[in-house]
Assembly symmetry: C2
């Protein structure tokens, strides 16, 4: 077996979730545990926790799936079940796609790529080229392909944040390239310090690492920060000076909870605003249908935009995409819907807006509630979520618990998270799965449990934490 395969770590679906699944099965089989249900806070998977899908999106998708419904003889019945704009959108999509059961263009359906380009133009105020957009199976597959193309041998390095989403370290492991870590600053609400970036790249280059690119996750995962435009300009300037390709993971761009102080800016927009000098800065930007208020994770839809990327590299990206034939068409349709939801004046606009806003407001309330809960606990501190779907609190784990963890050959934060799971059914991921400053301990939890369950969710954690601290307090 490939040694790189063996060395890969992927905590989001690692030991904790595997144990959580086993507990869930025990409950299903009628066994009695100390809790009624396992709450999967290990992964940003909103519909698993009963977030309702956006009605219009599902209506259009189901009509594309069954074009028989669009035939004249069914029209009368179907118009009782579907609003006219959903029917019209499905017809438009099918006209441009043909059958959704056919392989599409390997870069994605041209009509949808054109729509994505228009969306980016509206968002940023700068033009986008449909030929530089690749539809992908979730953002993950786009990231994997780009990392594969950017690396060449095991001395190639890619800068990744610590803490990071483990897709990055796992993929670098698989392509045998080196992660070049830089730390996010917890005390500055997980912001980036360009001096730290410089130090990190210099140290790695001094060791002979060929550092080629910088990954930024904004809004952050697992850390939830949202970068200021000023900070983004510094980062772009840094990449430009150091000849680094910038990979911007922007899948949480609509999960923004402090829109006044911390609005989302795309790296594309900020780069474009920086004038001629920077217009050779290479940038890949990733987006997904899995996050935001959509949460259509199971569909595996997403796109990547290539900015200032050499035509030869674009050709290679196309070739790699073609080996897997095409991204799944259902995911592509969801990308179309995400980037073109019902507009003001459309029949379904009001319903869309109210569903979208309700999910957004609820996420915002839950983010605050959970941060408040964490900050009320002994030895725990937690930054507010400016964006994304996660909190990443720091815990002061008592010495006796650290010793107990050592005895079990576990990291202290994994020991804590496992104890929480066993006691409450709440599954979170220890900070070791994402990386953290040595000597600090964290965990990542989504704030996705349903709002009507949220108080009992918080109090279960409080109760567990109190018991844990009582047990291990010196």
């Amino acid at each position: 077996m490939h040694p790189l395969v063996r060395s890969v770590e992927y905590a989001v679906r690692g030991a904790l979730p595997i144990r959580a699944e086993a507990l869930s099965k025990q409950l299903q089989n009628g066994e009695k545990l100390g809790f009624d249900r396992v709450v999967f806070c290990n992964i940003g998977n909103p519909q698993q926790l009963n977030q309702k899908p956006i009605t219009f999106f599902r209506q259009v998708a189901s009509l594309c799936e069954n074009p028989e419904l669009l035939k004249a003889e069914n029209r009368q019945l179907v118009e009782k079940l579907y609003p006219k704009d959903a029917i019209a959108r499905a017809e438009l999509l099918l006209k441009n796609i043909g059958s959704i059961g056919a392989y599409s263009h390997s870069k994605g359906i041209p009509f949808i790529r054109e729509n994505v380009a228009k969306f980016i133009e509206r968002r940023d105020g700068y033009p986008a080229n449909p030929e530089h957009i690749f539809l992908t199976q979730g953002a993950s597959s786009g990231v994997q392909t780009v990392l594969q193309i950017l690396t060449q041998h095991n001395k190639c390095g890619i800068m990744i944040p610590i803490p990071q989403y483990p897709l990055y370290s796992a993929t670098l492991s698989l392509v045998d390239a080196q992660p070049v870590p830089y730390y996010l600053n917890e005390k500055q609400n997980w912001g980036l310090n360009v001096d730290d970036l410089k130090k990190s790249v210099e140290e790695s280059r001094a060791k002979g690492v060929d550092v080629r690119a910088l990954v930024i996750i904004n809004p952050g995962n697992p850390t939830g920060q949202c970068l200021s435009e000023e900070n983004m300009r510094e980062i772009i300037d840094f990449c430009h000076t150091e000849h680094l390709v910038l990979l911007a993971d922007e899948v949480y761009q609509t999960n923004i909870y402090q829109p006044e102080q911390r609005p989302f800016h795309s790296f594309k927009k900020v780069l474009m605003s920086m004038g001629e000098k920077y217009q050779d800065q290479e940038l890949f930007s990733f987006h997904s249908t899995s996050k935001g208020m959509i949460g259509e994770c199971g569909r595996r839809g997403g796109y990547l935009e290539c900015v200032n990327i050499d035509e030869q590299v674009l050709d290679q990206l196309y070739k790699i995409a073609s080996i897997s034939l095409c991204p799944n068409v259902h995911g592509q349709i969801m990308v179309d819907l995400m980037t073109n939801p019902p507009a003001e004046g459309d029949i379904s606009h009001e319903q869309f807006k109210s569903e979208n806003d309700a999910i957004y407001e609820s996420l915002r309330r839950r983010a605050t509630k959970l941060a408040t809960c964490f900050n009320s606990l002994e030895g725990m501190t937690c930054n507010d979520a400016e964006g994304a779907m996660y909190l990443f609190p720091q815990i002061q784990i008592p010495e006796k618990a650290i010793e107990a963890a050592k005895e079990k050959n576990m990291a202290p934060d994994a020991f804590y998270a496992m104890a929480m799971l066993e006691a409450t059914g709440v599954c979170v991921i220890p900070g070791t799965g994402f990386g953290q400053e040595p000597g600090t301990w964290h965990f990542r939890s989504t704030f996705l449990p349903e709002e009507h369950l949220f108080d009992s969710f918080c109090s279960a954690i409080e109760k567990f934490h109190q018991g844990f601290m009582d047990k291990y307090r010196a």
Copy 2:
């Protein structure tokens, strides 16, 4: 850029299809060419050429997509649009899946893996373990993951047939492993000769290649042969003796056109029938929803079954699968439907059977018609398709055409195929894209154009071929 990325070749979506797309755009823009439409015979993509999807499958899929339709208040209307068994199946699936918008288990939805295991048991008469089944995004992603796991360094070799489906060579290129080619015997209707296999593995091992696995595509792609049970036993015995993992690409298992003389046998079944001695033979078998009479290519659905595979390797497969989170759920649903179509007695059984049989009989007629056409042409010989969706005729290309190709820096078969495309709009793939015995020239064509267009499709090829031979004949 990664040198391995650059070296990958993927002809099925290479120069010919790119030119075909450009011609198609010209026609769309109203330009006059020597033909009315581009006919994409470069890829097994039935619904692109208007093959109708199986009604029941799309009904169930559309109900899963829009569960609002299943609510009591819509029931009366929906029962006028959908048969009761489609409604019941969608309800059963949703009960076991939850929302199709959620990430599933990384190996695929447990309920569907159980159904796949039962399908394999019915097909083969031997048990299958749902925990050894991974749902995948088409067969391609399964093949890519397994090849990644089996190879370790650039001295690892994997035996692949020549001609082959270029997914194999392209993936080996990407993972930096060596293809160890063995030739299929055109004179014996593309059968495998075990002596050739032995010679190939011995030669490679003598050169220091660590040969680890043998890939077999059965029914063959691009060659269309279907292996006899006797031949399969020899191959399994060969793998067992040589300690090779067997990778069986069985995606065309229902595309069988001579079911009396050449029925399909799965490698799993033949292996199981060979007694105790062989029960440590490792086997991966791949299947897909893209082929057969389903042709749901755009959905990217498939599965792989692991037979006699070490638990540690299974763990690693699971880990790799988890990095991409899960296969798309729509593809998973189609795997469920493929392996559990309406049964006798079900309301939709008759319609399912008549649609399925009509596609099958038509494919069989078209396969024969196209082979007859090719065999009638000067200097062209073509084996019958025993299975799959392709013919792979050999052409005697005249010396003058070979010279003309050389001047254009093209392989002679690519030159021929490009001339065919420019003259007729028919896009086929030259044999160089699949590999062929040196000094022989071939092309691969699907027989998927619609049956009512088939005569004009054949006569366009005949007319072109005659003109080509007249022009270049010595």
